[in-house]
Symmetry: C3
């Protein structure tokens, strides 16, 4: 399988990159990320050209260069070797590593994996992370799944699964009759579900405090290629407006490590938050963070990783038999394949 | 390597299939087994056609259908999708899974893996399991070995190994001079050994209580293709008839999971059991169950798995150099290859 | 990748081969080593020809033969089967295993992996192990690295890495300006470094007791193909002769298990040892043994294994960009490739 290469992928949360260099595997390429002395971020190929030692096992020098931990060669943010500490110190011309465009935005570190000029306007707008009060944002969290990232996108674009896989917590069977609407804006695909008169799942009951009374519920999830998904979801009183209700925007940021492994960064921002006393507020945000992580790790991950293993079996590579609810996922797949094809045809993005 | 496909394989002991669906990998095919509300058994392809989620992660509904745990599709015993809980509930024609013939018999669940009509008369006669008093049957046990099942059949058809690998417990060097007789009836192969005047191995001393006096010993093992072996073995007084002695029929039921992994179900039924006080009886059967499992897990398994690893090394795929005692195993191999070849030629059994 | 085959490799320390047979994987061949009743050593293919059971799971009989643990066949040191305990005891002609030339020398067991006649004069001279007082030799130790052995040879032939990877312990940045001299004698390559006026690294301070004063330091490492390296290294007072100083000869003996795994035997002999009271002596040798093992296991091994993993990634197989300090390693590589090519051309060494 190929990937869209001329695109921004999330490498990590900004808060997770400090004085130590960090490594990531992205689109099967080993990458080292570090901050120079001034806090600026750089991303380089994680292999020292000398003998392929991983640069992330080294350290950042006071001058802001990254020093290989094996023989002490130093590289600057452009990937140029700027110091050979040995003998007469001469530096062969070929002693340089590939540098990747990076951008710190919306409290995330984004990396551009293609050969074209990076298009900074293509970074998804996650400004809700910047604009919300800190107490209205969950933990900035991440995990790694042993599955192709398309399986995770499918999981998210078809939220009908919450009624079964996350029964009682994020959804329930009341909502299976929901009208599903698929819309497209450019290459972004949105799947909307409106679920009137349903029992409030635990997560929403927590935010909206209905004490078991039924609610109207919505979920509008948008996929922004290649790997960002924003899920505006919440509940309101029966027959009331969405503005009278309360919910979250769930952020799901997927980065392929390999064809069978995906980095998954996530957080949620409360929308139209009801106000609670500060200690209740703190408790709610902690519960919200825990509940989401638990659902992803204990319910989605085992299912998606099991799907991946099934695909690996003998005659496992079958076309899915799609349901009405899969309209969004089908559209996503077409867009993905088309963009990969167009990159391949242009011949400028081969790894 | 190929397998005989038009044949019955053991999927599990009946007692191990209750209200929860269970999964097995058989001939490299993922299978889910479950009981409907009435206790009837079904076996389906373990992959939901929608998105290949493993059906065994779902549950059995009150109506007896198997519900996928991901999006809630329900399948009946024939593999037909009978409910789509989403939207208007329409079910695509292609939404069905392969169903495998199954038969519960002799306290085992048997599965038919081929494309021909199942031949119910081909289930091996293990009625000794049904007819024996419960107190004369060991635990119904199983394990999984990381080795091709032919290596396990070889182990069993050439019982000369018990003198070395299970020294003192199931055999000893006294018996190495045994006359070995190989006979064939249809495709069943029997290897018989008569070992007069030998020290009683621990297992038989336990059943026959000779307190260390020598015995005459026999072992008659029959292979019923593809994976069932019955070993009638026991001891008697020197010069006495077999009827005056006591022993067991050891049942060894082998099911290939993959080319390098085998499900191994086992139990033993006492033959001509001497009568003991009930508490001694209970203790003997517990010891017998433990001793056999211990011998299989701690002695056979490491040796057979090490053989498998050796076969995986560079120039490891060598023809075995056979001994006189290997007559049965050689015949087994010919029959196996012939039946696989005939299935392949008929063209109706390809997976 | 190919190996030099007509050469001696270290199979183990003599002290580690006692009454139990031991197994090794060398150049991807499974080998069993054992001592007969008289203490003589033999090395055989570790696969019983009968059914490929690993012979090392058997035992050495009183007669000095090696008995297979599965069916009891016995083999002598030449690899001939000398006993079949079953039936009439006849032994098929093909029932023999390959025997490898072995030689116990310098407290090591050496094995010859090629098809040519073994050249006993080619065993590297490690007589310093025999001639030193026992209290001047470290533990005879070994470990296994998940990396190709060339990566380990590179590590050793370019000792510039000690200034960074083993900073403070075996080297420091003072020494990076060292003049590096590469010489060759036959196929042996020596890399010499002279480092005047440097802070004494911990290991040498321990042996020479300078209490922090600066020293002149040297390191002369010689590679003897295919896998033996001797590192004569030490310190002396500034401006003083090497004879007035003290150091060690570090022995590094590398044996490829597979293309991605290496057996690494090591020890060190003190040279020109200063005399200490016996209890201090004992403590120093224990510290010296511990310090070296710790440096290899905690510093070299993670780096070298990470290099190996990097080489396994997509476009990882790149030519190294060499520095001035790599002269020795480059020469080593040429010699290795030339000898492998010449063996292949002669056609007598294929496995």
């Amino acid at each position: 399988m190929a990937y869209i290469r001329n695109a921004w992928y999330v490498a990590m949360w900004s808060q997770d990159l400090n004085s130590q260099p960090q490594n990531r595997l992205i689109l099967n390429e080993p990458i080292v990320l570090f901050r120079d002395g001034r806090g600026n971020i750089a991303a380089l190929d994680d292999r020292c050209p000398h003998r392929q030692a991983p640069l992330h096992l080294g350290k950042v020098c006071e001058s802001g260069t990254l020093q290989c931990g094996y023989h002490g060669l130093e590289f600057d943010k452009s990937g140029a070797c700027v110091r050979n500490p040995h003998g007469n110190g001469s530096i062969p011309k070929a002693m340089r590593v590939k540098s990747y465009p990076v951008k710190e935005m919306h409290s995330l570190v984004w990396i551009w994996m293609g050969e074209r000029e990076p298009d900074y306007s293509a970074i998804p707008d996650l400004s809700m992370l910047d604009n919300a009060l800190p107490e209205h944002v969950t933990r900035r969290d991440f995990l790694s799944m042993n599955a192709n990232y398309e399986l995770v996108v499918n999981n998210l674009l078809d939220l009908s699964h919450v009624a079964f896989l996350h029964k009682g917590v994020l959804g329930n069977e009341d909502s299976t009759g929901a009208q599903v609407k698929v819309t497209q804006e450019g290459d972004n695909v949105t799947v909307s579900r409106w679920m009137p008169g349903v029992a409030a799942p635990r997560l929403f009951d927590m935010l909206f405090q209905r004490d078991g009374r039924d609610v109207d519920m919505w979920a509008e999830i948008t996929w922004i290629p290649p790997g960002s998904l924003l899920n505006d979801t919440g509940v309101t009183g029966i027959g009331a407006s969405r503005e009278a209700g309360s919910g979250i925007i769930g952020l799901h940021l997927l980065t392929p490590e390999t064809e069978q492994s995906t980095l998954y960064h996530f957080a949620a921002v409360r929308t139209n938050p009801r106000s609670f006393p500060p200690d209740i507020e703190t408790q709610i945000m902690r519960d919200l963070s825990d509940l989401r992580r638990k659902a992803f790790v204990e319910e989605d991950m085992p299912m998606i990783e099991a799907q991946q293993r099934m695909l690996g079996l003998g005659n496992g590579e079958r076309e899915p038999v799609l349901l009405e609810v899969d309209g969004g996922a089908a559209r996503m797949r077409r867009i993905l394949q088309q963009r990969i094809k167009s990159e391949t045809a242009s011949g400028i993005s081969a790894p």
